[in-house]
């Protein structure tokens, strides 16, 4: 174990700074405001910092380390061109208060992204401002809210979510001030249309749903669900977490949704960064466009007097404030750096984006098929079953390890830890809650057949592993199973300095 706080070298050795440009005696900080004790920060030299963080990085698993089949998270390869472009001074060194004529190239990219995202989801207007998927959800729900307010429909206080929804859905709608109605899914994870019909009414503001659902199953009744909600005057919200499954094959717009968020850090390869930053633009149908957080980018033909650059021969790009905007959800223009990275990703595919989703779905189905096939060969297919029995899945699938748990006493978490020992990231476990001992697997399109074959083999091996080994797994990782209860009962949220 090595802590940053063990390094206390000579002051100022981390990196050299020039002297202040003006005598510090002239700084007249009021007596009562002068800081008495400096923070107890360590002092790392550059080699110490580089080694400390390199050492920590070796204790971390990323997509670069190995296969990362984390369901619902779309852990695809992050092309490095993204990083190169995002470091260019034309984005990294731009201030959000610079005038439009200094940032025509940036606005051109934003405009292209707004248009592209709109086309992909079948939406009429897009804002790039929300900085994460959850914030996108919140933003869209706020737009619904203002839409209803303007129409005088104040009685719409309820948002319907299926019990298989991502936790952010109910959390976002609650934050906006709505009451949550949770409806049960059918046993195969699909929407229970009758249950939906039973809860809608004139108090319905919206339904939030992802399709394919969190079991990776496409909702065949989606248009019927949309009709039911629309009939009572509600809005349909598409959680874009699973957009990687359907891009170019169908669209939320076609399915009847009114608003959608995009996770640029899932579908469009912005790196997840150990937990962020992400980017969660939203797209809406035309009746909601006037409520989007502002400003959004628009363009007009160039006029004489416009300052032209390489970026705007024909068009002048400018900010536009939607007339009934809900206001802002981030102070500036969102995670622009993530938008730029995603633009680079988009340009690689262009109108071929459909193949991205096709390969993602192909990989998921192949892996699912391979696991079942091998399990049968090795006689362990009775130990698990499909989370949702269906001919084909979309970008991900779920397995229930309830039988394994019953027969051998090892559950989804034990299998997950066993996979860690074999050099894989574990799939998502225990979500969605409607599948007992659930394991949710999403391979993404960027994995090769060889990787999927190896994983399937390994997975089936582990099912057959000595339960004793699995409950004690992992043993090859930097630490073994971490005691989360101890962490919560003996809170230690920062380094305890000895005075």
């Amino acid at each position: 174990m090595s802590y940053m706080f063990e390094h206390n070298g000579a002051p100022g050795k981390g990196y050299s700074q020039p002297a202040p440009i003006y005598p510090t005696e002239k700084l007249n900080i009021p007596q009562g405001l002068v800081r008495k004790n400096l923070p107890k920060w360590p002092r790392l030299s550059e080699p110490e910092m580089v080694r400390h963080f390199t050492w920590m990085s070796t204790r971390n698993f990323g997509i670069d380390t190995g296969f990362y089949p984390l369901g619902s998270c779309t852990m695809k390869h992050n092309p490095r061109i993204n990083e190169v472009i995002a470091q260019l001074p034309g984005i990294a060194d731009i201030h959000p208060l610079q005038p439009e004529h200094q940032i025509q190239g940036l606005l051109a990219i934003f405009h292209e992204m707004q248009e592209m995202l709109g086309v992909c989801a079948g939406m009429d207007a897009v804002t790039l401002q929300p900085v994460a998927g959850a914030q996108g959800e919140f933003t869209a729900i706020r737009c619904f809210q203002e839409y209803f307010k303007l129409r005088g429909e104040h009685q719409r206080t309820k948002v319907i979510v299926p019990d298989s929804a991502h936790g952010t859905n109910p959390a976002s709608a609650t934050m906006a001030g709505f009451e949550i109605i949770e409806i049960p899914s059918q046993s195969d994870g699909r929407i229970d249309i009758e249950a939906l019909r039973a809860v809608v009414g004139e108090d319905t503001a919206a339904m939030m749903i992802t399709n394919p659902n969190t079991l990776g199953v496409f909702e065949p009744d989606i248009t019927e669900a949309a009709e039911i909600v629309h009939q009572v005057g509600g809005q349909m919200y598409y959680d874009g977490a699973n957009f990687n499954a359907i891009l170019g094959r169908t669209s939320p717009g076609l399915m009847g949704f009114d608003a959608v968020h995009y996770n640029l850090h899932k579908t469009f390869s912005q790196p997840h960064g150990g937990g962020g930053p992400g980017s969660g633009p939203i797209g809406v149908k035309s009746h909601l466009a006037e409520f989007l957080p502002g400003p959004v980018v628009r363009r007009r033909p160039v006029l004489s007097g416009d300052k032209l650059t390489n970026a705007n021969h024909d068009w002048w790009f400018h900010w536009y404030e939607p007339v009934n905007s809900i206001g802002k959800v981030q102070q500036w223009h969102g995670n622009s750096g993530a938008v730029i990275r995603s633009w680079a990703f988009y340009r690689r595919y262009g109108n071929g984006l459909k193949t991205m989703s096709e390969h993602a779905v192909l990989n998921a189905n192949y892996l699912r098929h391979r696991i079942f096939e091998l399990a049968k060969e090795k006689g362990v297919d009775h130990l698990f079953c499909d989370g949702a029995p269906t001919d084909v899945v979309k970008h991900e699938f779920t397995l229930s390890l309830a039988a394994l748990k019953k027969e051998r006493g090892v559950g989804a978490m034990d299998i997950a830890k066993g996979l860690l020992d074999r050099g894989y990231m574990a799939p998502t476990v225990y979500f969605p809650l409607i599948v007992p001992e659930c394991m949710m697997i999403e391979p993404t399109e960027t994995e090769s057949k060889e990787v999927l074959d190896d994983f399937a083999e390994c997975f089936v091996d582990i099912l057959n592993e000595d339960p004793e080994v699995l409950v004690n797994a992992p043993i090859t990782t930097p630490v073994r199973r971490v005691d989360e209860v101890y962490a919560a009962r003996n809170l230690c949220l920062s380094h305890p300095f000895e005075d």
Binding site: P20, I109, M175, V479, R481, A488, H495
Partner: protein, 447 residues
């Protein structure tokens, strides 16, 4: 692969998508490009922007162009950090977990409080989340239920974020007024007694360090949250709010570790006392042990969060700004305490020099001259701010910020900002241009 599954076409995998919602053909988008073409287009488009480094510039308003050491940019590209998800499997995520635990420590030390989360989206959402958190904690005892007072100087865009976040919890936002000299009006403050919290920024949005804030906690009492928004580098010289009674400290972390990147990704600082811990938003890394009793890290108190708590969560935040916070941790560890102090001195010295130089120009004014400023101050002009900025632009300077965009009645105020990157010669240049422009103006506006 299709063959192995007994399928003949990729279409078979989409057979479950009802006919009526199928898209036909390719999307109406441009064709694909090679990596080389993309880089070339990126250089062309982004290269047409005016990067701040190419111009003498005085834009700030909360985002300052501070130097970030080269090693930070190199280290952040470690794929094990860059391409990892949230550390839900702690056994293979010790790196990011420990780094975030160290980040939390650095922030606690910086602001003088006991608890810090591992980042929110930016300074504005951190302020907004602090306000809703204060209501959750204090509403029961408050005589002014669901009410929070915030400084009237808070810029409209930040205020808008706060309103969006707080309206769902039925929170009433009332304004605290400031005196003409820019300091907080203490009489106005007395109205906030019995409310759930107050939110004030130090330095305030006009760059003023207000020494009156140190006595505020005694005035508002224990059951009203004292929330302070900080410029983090200033805390190398200025007292940490935790040491003068702040319950929650928030701020825009960008100046420590991150480029401006057109305003995102940045990272929001959120730090609080233990009294607010159970109601705080965002993720927390905690130190624990593994089954062998070895020290180990994991996410903790997750029962506050959406993936467990769903609609009863303290916030909907899931993805945050971990990687940018990681850059912050790297930068802070290299600075050390004395480096932070020097960085603060450099920022403040540039600002002070500019005040002294611009203060000598008789045709412009500095309304808050006698106060202590950090990073920025207001210049009052004998004409429209927009005209002045156009003139400076024509001379190749990114001049500053037209404050009428925040405060519509202030048509002749600009906010000029200085950082550790500001050179003495640049200040001289600004002074020279302002002198030329302002002497050419007949006073169009009343001061």
């Amino acid at each position: 692969m299709l063959e192995a599954m007994g399928l003949s076409s990729i279409d078979d995998l989409f057979a479950d998508v009802p006919e009526s919602v199928r898209l036909q053909g390719d999307l109406p988008l441009r064709g694909p490009q090679s990596e080389e073409e993309i880089i070339s287009d990126a250089r062309m488009l982004l290269g047409s922007n005016v990067a701040l480094g190419e111009r003498v510039n005085f834009l700030g308003a909360g985002l300052n162009r501070n130097y970030v050491p080269a090693s930070v940019f190199q280290m952040i590209n470690r794929g094990e950090f860059l391409t990892a998800y949230t550390p839900y499997q702690p056994e293979v995520s010790q790196g990011i977990l420990q780094a975030m635990w160290e980040f939390q420590t650095l922030i606690c030390q910086l602001v003088g409080l006991e608890v810090s989360n591992l980042s929110l989206y930016d300074g504005s959402t951190a302020a907004a989340e602090a306000i809703t958190c204060a209501v959750r904690v204090n509403n029961r005892k408050a005589s002014q239920k669901n009410t929070v007072y915030i400084s009237q100087l808070v810029p409209p865009d930040r205020l808008s974020v706060i309103q969006n976040y707080s309206q769902g919890a039925d929170i009433t936002i009332k304004l605290l007024s400031h005196n003409l000299d820019g300091t907080l009006n203490l009489e106005s403050l007395s109205e906030a007694a019995g409310s759930c919290g107050i939110y004030i920024e130090q330095p305030n949005p006009l760059g003023i360090l207000d020494s009156g804030l140190t006595g505020i906690k005694e005035v508002i009492g224990p059951n009203t949250a004292f929330i302070v928004g900080v410029a983090p580098t200033s805390l190398g010289l200025v007292e940490a709010p935790g040491n003068y009674g702040a319950d929650i400290v928030v701020g825009e972390g960008q100046a420590l570790g991150s480029p401006i990147t057109y305003g995102g990704p940045l990272y929001g600082i959120f730090s609080c006392t233990k009294a607010y811990l159970r109601q705080m938003p965002g993720r927390l890394a905690g130190r624990s042990v593994d089954v062998d009793g070895k020290e180990a890290f994991c996410l903790t108190l997750s029962t506050r969060e959406q993936h467990i708590r769903r609609h009863r969560a303290t916030s909907n935040i899931c993805t945050n700004q971990t990687l940018i916070a990681l850059m912050g941790a790297m930068h802070m560890s290299l600075l050390g305490p004395e480096g932070l102090q020097l960085l603060a001195q450099r920022n403040m010295a540039a600002c002070q020099m500019a005040k002294d130089k611009l203060g000598q120009i008789p045709t412009i004014g500095i309304p808050h001259l006698s106060f202590c400023h950090y990073n920025e101050f207001v210049v009052e002009l004998p004409g429209f701010a927009a005209d002045c900025l156009d003139y400076l632009d024509s001379q190749g300077l990114v001049g500053g910020f037209d404050l009428s965009q925040w405060y519509p009645e202030r048509k002749n105020w600009i906010l000029v900002s200085f950082s550790d990157q500001t050179q003495a010669a640049e200040i001289e240049l600004l002074a020279a241009h302002l002198a030329v422009w302002s002497t050419s103006k007949k006073p169009e506006l009343n001061a």
